[in-house]
């Protein structure tokens, strides 16, 4: 039984160490890319607003193979969650607030997005060409 006194503490230290290593590796991978991103040229900005649970504009044309910054303005007093399975983002926007969604460069095509709290009216899509 005495052996078990020592083991759990050592195990915790071991677990901490490996997880710290894992986290450091992840961050170390991110750092060089962070440096290039922050130093990157100004991002292409597209503006979308949410009014009466609808996106305006609902269809947005953007150029292919370019990173895009989407500035969403929620003009409704209630929150919305803007989501896209095609583009892989989920963003909660409180009422009367703004939020930023960053899109990676995309291949040509049509990509749908929607407001999760109002899927009957809040529908939009990007046309990438």
């Amino acid at each position: 039984m005495r052996r078990n006194h020592v083991e759990p503490r050592a195990a915790r230290r071991g677990a901490y160490a490996v997880h710290a290593l894992f986290a450091v590796t992840l961050i170390a991978t991110a750092c060089p890319t962070l440096a290039t991103t922050v130093g990157a040229a100004e991002e292409n900005v597209v503006e979308i607003s949410i009014k009466d649970h609808k996106f305006e504009p609902a269809e947005i044309k953007i150029p292919a193979d370019q990173a895009i910054k989407i500035a969403v303005k929620n003009l409704d007093p209630t929150a919305e969650e803007v989501e896209s399975g095609d583009l892989g983002f989920e963003k909660i926007i409180a009422g009367n607030s703004d939020a930023i969604i960053r899109l990676k460069p995309q291949k040509p095509g049509t990509y749908l997005f929607y407001g999760e709290y109002h899927t009957d009216t809040a529908l939009g899509h990007f046309v990438v060409e």
Partner: protein, 278 residues
């Protein structure tokens, strides 16, 4: 009303599945009910705070705040779950042998419970903040439809809790020895899925640009937004369009946890000797 039911059901299910797995994984650990309950209550309180500060969090770091916050929460949850799996690997045999007391490991058991409590709290906070924001919106709109939306939300909450209970009861029906190995694997896969989600958040924040293109697309086979897709996303980290980095995080988490658990497991010989002595 149906729309509200679906939305709340989905969020409650996503947290509830994790709670169900954690409850099953900690069966036999003293004080586990209190720890999980504390986690749920703490998570609800935290989700109200997060919902209240949603705009400030989101706008931090040039609009990256929500992704960074989410990634940080997920990474902490991964570490808590990993800790639990490793702890169980050390003590499962002992607990199978004698459920009534953990002997001198009560203290270590308490710390493992704290890890579980935190993991549960974080899961509830993540999904709960979305529910709080959604329901605040309903209440603010304050017209006739508010009542039916609130009813729908309440039903969604109950259904989500019921579905999670089904998962828990199915797991709890397993014989103890089988239970620990099955839940050990499940918790590891849940953690791996959370790690991949953290990577996705970092990528969406624009902080991770390596290996960030989707490697395959199985959304035609099983969409991640379908019901089964969502359940599998929570339970085993199913992704329909995973990037290289997400897969690396997933595999890395599985290997790290299994490696640690294997290294720290209670050797069968020592367990046999201990049971002879007691």
């Amino acid at each position: 009303m149906f729309a509200a039911l679906v939305i709340v059901f989905r969020e409650v299910l996503e947290a509830g599945l994790i709670i169900g797995v954690v409850l099953a994984a900690s069966r036999g650990v003293h004080g586990r009910n209190g720890a999980v309950f504390l986690g749920v209550v703490g998570g609800i309180a935290a989700s109200i705070v997060v919902a209240a500060f949603a705009a400030q969090i989101s706008n931090a770091f040039d609009g990256r705040g929500q992704e960074l916050f989410s990634a940080a929460v997920l990474i902490v949850a991964v570490m808590m779950l990993a800790w639990h799996v490793v702890w169980m690997a050390e003590h499962a045999r002992e607990m199978t042998r004698d459920l009534k007391k953990l002997g001198s490991d009560v203290a270590a058991g308490a710390q493992s419970l704290m890890a579980l409590s935190l993991a549960v709290g974080l899961a509830v906070m993540r999904e709960g903040s979305e529910v709080v924001l959604f329901m605040t919106g309903i209440v603010m709109q304050g017209n006739d439809t508010a009542m039916s939306l609130l009813t729908g939300s309440g039903l969604g909450l109950l259904l989500g809790a019921a579905a999670s209970a089904v998962l828990y009861l199915s797991l709890a029906a397993l014989p103890l020895k089988r239970l620990f190995s099955v839940t050990g694997i499940l918790v590891t896969l849940v953690a791996a899925g959370l790690a991949a989600s953290a990577v996705k958040d970092l990528s969406n924040a624009g902080l991770l640009n390596v290996f960030d293109g989707p490697l395959w697309d199985t959304s035609w086979l099983l969409s991640q937004s379908s019901w089964l897709g969502r359940v599998l996303h929570v339970l085993v980290g199913y992704m329909d369009r995973p990037t290289g980095m997400e897969l690396l995080a997933y595999a890395g988490t599985v290997l790290t946890i299994f490696g640690l658990a294997y290294a720290r497991r209670e050797p069968p010989k020592a367990a046999a000797q201990a049971s002879l002595r007691s």
